[in-house]
């Protein structure tokens, strides 16, 4: 996957912060996925405008202590495979 890619959430899913779960969730017809903190942090930055590179840069400034590049790329690939992101 190129870091120039601009990922987009599949319109089948809705990303939402859930206070009761203290986490982001993905909601879809008759189902839901509770997201880990890191998955939520990545997905909330996916807005159909930012490239993977922009997202990594933004996350890196929020979490400067560790190199996140490979984690973000792995997650975006997995999320695409899951159908959460448009191919």
């Amino acid at each position: 996957m190129s870091e120039d890619r601009i990922p987009e959430i599949n319109s089948f899913f809705r990303l939402q912060w859930e206070e009761a779960q203290n986490s982001f969730v993905l909601l879809y017809p008759e189902g839901m996925v509770k997201l880990s903190q890191s998955a939520g942090e990545i997905l909330k930055r996916i807005n159909g405008k930012s490239s993977v590179q922009d997202i990594i840069r933004d996350l890196q400034s929020a979490f400067p202590d560790v190199d996140l590049t490979s984690d973000v790329i792995t997650f975006i690939n997995q999320a695409t495979e899951n159908g959460w992101l448009n191919r």
């Binding site: 319109s11 089948f12 809705r14 939402q16 859930e18 009761a20 779960q21 969730v25 993905l26 909601l27 879809y28 017809p29 008759e30 189902g31 839901m32 996925v33 509770k34 997201l35 880990s36 890191s38 998955a39 984690d71 792995t74 997650f75 997995q78 999320a79 899951n82 159908g83 959460w84 191919r87």
Partner: protein
């Protein structure tokens, strides 16, 4: 790094609002109770809005708007709007009858997230026969309107002896309509379908053929359309994890306001189900006897009590245990560890001859049959 975690329990994540039992269709496999004619006092709009608010406060995220046919309710748009304002993901579960393109648009504007349309079959003749009304062409039109208005679309087809041999045509239809998600839901035998089991349970041979076709389509359309194929549990040897456990994540509100841990629960006698007109959702979910009755594992008897799989399937379905054994605390007889399993297997074995059973009379789901059934039982 993994996206999801499973630990969501303790809250009524799923609110199923059965807005009405009125319905223009008469499907003989309907999971509504046989007593639909006795539900006279439907909740008011304000009652429903209160239910939505209170359940959301307890953590509910998914809102199912069901029935009967929910489109019968003139206040559906108002209920949808409240659901959207509260942050629910809302699902309209409909036959499509009572909808037109204008209403599809109005519901979108009110904030509806998703529409699920049911089909009875993939051709006009069988669809209209099973639904007891001429609706096939309208359903096709509504499915196209749903897609045209950018809703995710789920098509639901209840599968049984009368339509299972058409499964390939059914799948072709769903591909043609560009469904995002297809539920091929084998009939489960509650309510009207239990009454019609002799006409509805497919043979093992029919089932195996249908399953292999469904799997081939699942492979072929993997990235385009998700196909869920639910087998009839009468053919299984382990029970389904019904409702993910009693009082675990599901909250159903019947049209008259009775709160149920699943939509069939009212079939279990001697449980007093609380009503949202008298009690808060908080009390109902956390404190009522009805919702605590089969929660957890304390109520179990053997073989469930000592079973290593009890945390996986929760002993199966309480309604089915009652229906088939007369005692809701027994193991679901689908389970081969149940002392009642053999009786169920014998019953299923007796329903294998498709040709002999093809002419069995079908009782359609309608108010008039509901009334005469309750008159007979008096």
């Amino acid at each position: 790094m993994v996206g999801s975690t499973a630990n969501l329990s303790g809250m009524p994540l799923w609110l199923l609002a059965e807005l009405t039992y009125r319905c223009p269709l008469q499907c003989p496999y309907c999971s509504n109770p046989l007593e639909i004619a006795s539900y006279k006092n439907e909740l008011s709009t304000d009652d429903w809005l209160k239910v939505l608010r209170e359940a959301r406060k307890l953590g509910a995220m998914q809102l199912g708007l069901s029935g009967g046919e929910p489109l019968v309710r003139k206040d559906l748009e108002l209920i949808v709007k409240e659901g959207a304002d509260l942050g629910y993901y809302s699902n309209l579960i409909t036959s499509g009858v009572g909808m037109d393109e204008e209403r599809v648009v109005a519901l979108k504007e009110a904030g509806l997230d998703h529409i699920q349309i049911s089909f009875q079959a993939s051709d006009k003749e069988l669809n209209d026969f099973l639904g007891g009304t001429s609706s096939f062409q309208h359903k096709l039109d509504m499915a196209r309107a749903v897609k045209a208005n950018n809703y995710p679309m789920v098509l639901n087809i209840v599968i049984h002896r009368q339509n299972i041999d058409h499964i390939e045509d059914i799948l072709k239809m769903t591909v043609e309509l560009k469904a995002d998600y297809v539920e091929l839901a084998s009939t489960q035998y509650y309510g009207w379908s239990a009454l019609n089991v002799n006409s509805l349970l497919p043979s093992r041979e029919q089932l195996e053929r249908a399953e292999s076709i469904a799997h081939a389509y699942q492979d072929q359309y993997r990235n385009k359309m998700k196909i869920l194929y639910i087998v009839p549990d009468y053919y299984e040897t382990r029970p389904k994890a019904c409702m993910n456990g009693w009082g675990s994540v599901f909250l159903t509100i019947a049209p008259d306001g009775r709160a149920l841990p699943c939509h069939a629960a009212a079939s279990i006698p001697d449980i007093e189900f609380p009503n949202v007109k008298d009690r808060s959702i908080n009390y109902i979910w956390n404190d009522s006897d009805a919702f605590n009755k089969f929660r957890g594992f304390g109520w179990m008897k053997d073989p469930c009590r000592t079973c290593p799989e009890k945390e996986k399937d929760f002993g199966g379905c309480r309604c089915q245990a009652f229906k088939l054994t007369g005692d809701a605390t027994n193991a679901d007889p689908v389970c081969s560890k149940s002392p009642h399993h053999q009786k169920l297997s014998d019953k299923v074995a007796g329903l294998q001859d498709v040709h002999q059973l093809q002419g069995a009379p079908i009782v359609f789901r309608n108010m008039s049959n509901s009334k005469s059934l309750s008159d007979n039982s008096d």
